[in-house]
């Protein structure tokens, strides 16, 4: 629909005004990493540093094994995302397409599990993790997101998608003698790209920014993930190193945003095609 120039300008104005609370904090976080430690508290507060310094950033790497922590977060997120996609797609497909006994009951069970907050169940899980000797390892951080209650949302999304799927393809394949597994991997999944994109991005972000679980299960800095590491920048006397924390946070955020900037077309367009319109 064509628009008048006036409307266009109005739209831009609204968009720019609306952007402020979304963008300004991130910008402030980014620029403050370049400030000397004390400038964060100057009155009145500044956005751009009066004095540019890389001290904050240097300390990001010297105070903690940041590179290793970055690597930890990435490899964990990759494993979690891949496994999540496969397993939740399988479950979503089953709920949408396979008549299995107690299907409705199972669905309710999954719904219920989704509502259990993690702060509530962390103690029994911690006890079990401890007794299995998996304390301070990455195993709980991998197993929990893939198999735990947070995966239910992904199952939801896949179920939605497969429900809207035309049945003719599968029926044709079934007549040709293709097995259930074959149908799933060769027909259903390739056409499930939208849901895969949505679930993949959500799973990746959730894993990459994970804080609470990392806080409970991890002890040595070399094992930390980024969400936790950001909060651990303290100096000799235990005082917070604010600019370093903000610097670490900026380093965590920027790559993801860049990826999103380029990949968002797939993400959004993907979601459009029969994903969630029901």
């Amino acid at each position: 629909m064509a628009q008048s120039t006036a409307t266009k300008i109005a739209l831009y104005v609204i968009l720019i005004a609306a952007s402020v609370p979304f963008l300004y904090p991130t910008l402030w976080m980014f620029f403050s990493s370049f400030k000397p430690a004390n400038e964060i508290f100057t009155q009145p507060p500044t956005l751009l540093p009066r004095e540019w310094t890389l001290d904050g950033f240097v300390q990001v790497f010297t105070a903690q094994p940041f590179v290793q922590q970055y690597g930890n977060s990435i490899y964990i997120a990759v494993i979690v995302t891949t496994a999540s996609i496969v397993l939740s797609a399988m479950a979503g497909y089953a709920f949408a397409r396979i008549e299995f006994p107690f299907r409705n009951a199972a669905f309710v069970v999954m719904l219920a599990a989704m509502m259990v907050p993690s702060e509530v169940t962390i103690i029994p899980i911690f006890t079990a993790v401890n007794s299995l000797g998996l304390n301070d390892t990455h195993w709980p951080l991998i197993i929990l997101p893939i198999f735990g209650p947070t995966a239910v949302v992904s199952v939801f999304i896949f179920r939605q998608h497969f429900l809207a799927f035309p049945k003719e393809f599968e029926e044709a394949a079934r007549l040709d003698g293709v097995s259930r597994v074959g149908i799933f991997f060769r027909i259903a999944m390739p056409l499930a790209r939208p849901a895969i994109a949505a679930v993949g991005i959500m799973a990746f972000l959730r894993s990459f920014n994970m804080y609470f679980e990392a806080l409970i299960f991890l002890r040595t800095p070399e094992n930390f993930t980024l969400g936790l590491a950001i909060t651990r920048y303290q100096d000799f006397y235990g005082e917070q190193m604010w600019t370093t924390q903000l610097g670490a946070a900026s380093l965590t955020v920027i790559p993801i945003l860049v990826v999103f900037l380029f990949a968002q077309k797939q993400f959004v367009q993907g979601l459009t095609q029969g994903g969630l319109k029901g």
Partner: protein
């Protein structure tokens, strides 16, 4: 069956079984540092029912839930509509609105802490237009809404993208046909677009409700539950009860109640869905 088994079992073992343990803990008095566990039946729940802090916490949680739901969905839908235009640079704005989703919640909360300070960025900006901003986090009447704002701005981008996808799947032909029939933009939005994206609204509504009742980090970092008990939401109360007051049994009881509230609100939305979602969900 095998298809669903791994996920289903995982969810049972890692979600429901621990919760059963939590129910068991709530029937005991458990001081973790001494290791003593004593069965006391429903005494924790009795204590809860006469604890004014608990009721204040439930009230705060419900206020949070409603406020976040209304603002998050409202803003997300508005932004999605705004972004559903063919404008140059629209993808940049899309990224901007989505960017807080990617930032770690701790960094986001800490940054807002600086901005919400009495002499912080927000009041500095207000001073430029001649307004003396309040003490956002220290004033009982503004603390809750400040934390709500922090949480909403963080999460709204995700819902916005979901709505945007849903909006873009509304067939153009239908909207054009309506326009030809003389329907106003608002009319076609209300009668065509909204019903078509209703399943998405339902999904985001349920997820946002659940998320809003589990908000923890901004409260811990910005207000510590105060002023008074105005931001002392249930997950935070649970955390303090368990780890500061060292009362694991009592905290577990709070956890069970929190789950019940989440369950109740979710079922409410799920079972009234037929009223306003017409496609099978």
């Amino acid at each position: 069956m095998a298809f669903v088994a791994p996920q289903l079992l995982g969810v049972i073992i890692l979600g429901l079984v621990p919760f059963l343990f939590v129910i068991w803990y709530s029937l005991n008095e458990w001081r973790p540092l001494t290791g003593e566990m004593e069965f006391i039946g429903l005494a924790n729940y009795e204590q809860l029912s006469s604890d004014p802090t608990f009721y204040a916490s439930v009230a705060a949680s419900l206020l949070f839930g409603v406020a976040i739901l209304v603002f998050n969905l409202g803003i997300a839908l508005s932004l999605a509509v705004l972004l559903n235009q063919r404008l140059r640079g629209i993808t940049t704005f899309r990224t901007i609105f989505f960017s807080p989703v990617v930032v770690s919640v701790v960094a986001w909360s800490v940054t807002w802490g600086f901005l919400l300070a009495p002499n912080g960025g927000i009041n500095g900006f207000l001073k430029l237009v001649g307004i003396n901003g309040p003490n956002w986090l220290g004033d009982p009447s503004t603390a809750l809404i400040s934390v709500v704002a922090v949480q909403v701005f963080k999460g709204v981008g995700m819902n916005m993208v979901l709505f945007l996808a849903a909006l873009q799947s509304v067939p153009e032909e239908m909207l054009e046909a309506a326009q030809l029939d003389g329907a106003s933009r608002w009319r076609s939005f209300r009668s065509i677009t909204v019903p078509m994206i209703a399943p998405t609204i339902l999904l985001t509504s349920i997820l946002t409700t659940i998320g809003s009742l589990e908000v923890f980090a901004p409260v811990q970092l910005l207000t510590g539950g105060g002023p008074g008990d105005s931001t002392n939401v249930l997950p935070f109360l649970l955390f303090r009860t368990a780890f500061v007051s060292q009362q694991f049994g009592y905290a577990s009881a709070i956890g069970v109640v929190l789950f019940a509230i989440i369950l109740g609100l979710t079922l409410l939305q799920w079972f009234t869905r037929r009223r306003w979602v017409h496609d099978e969900v």
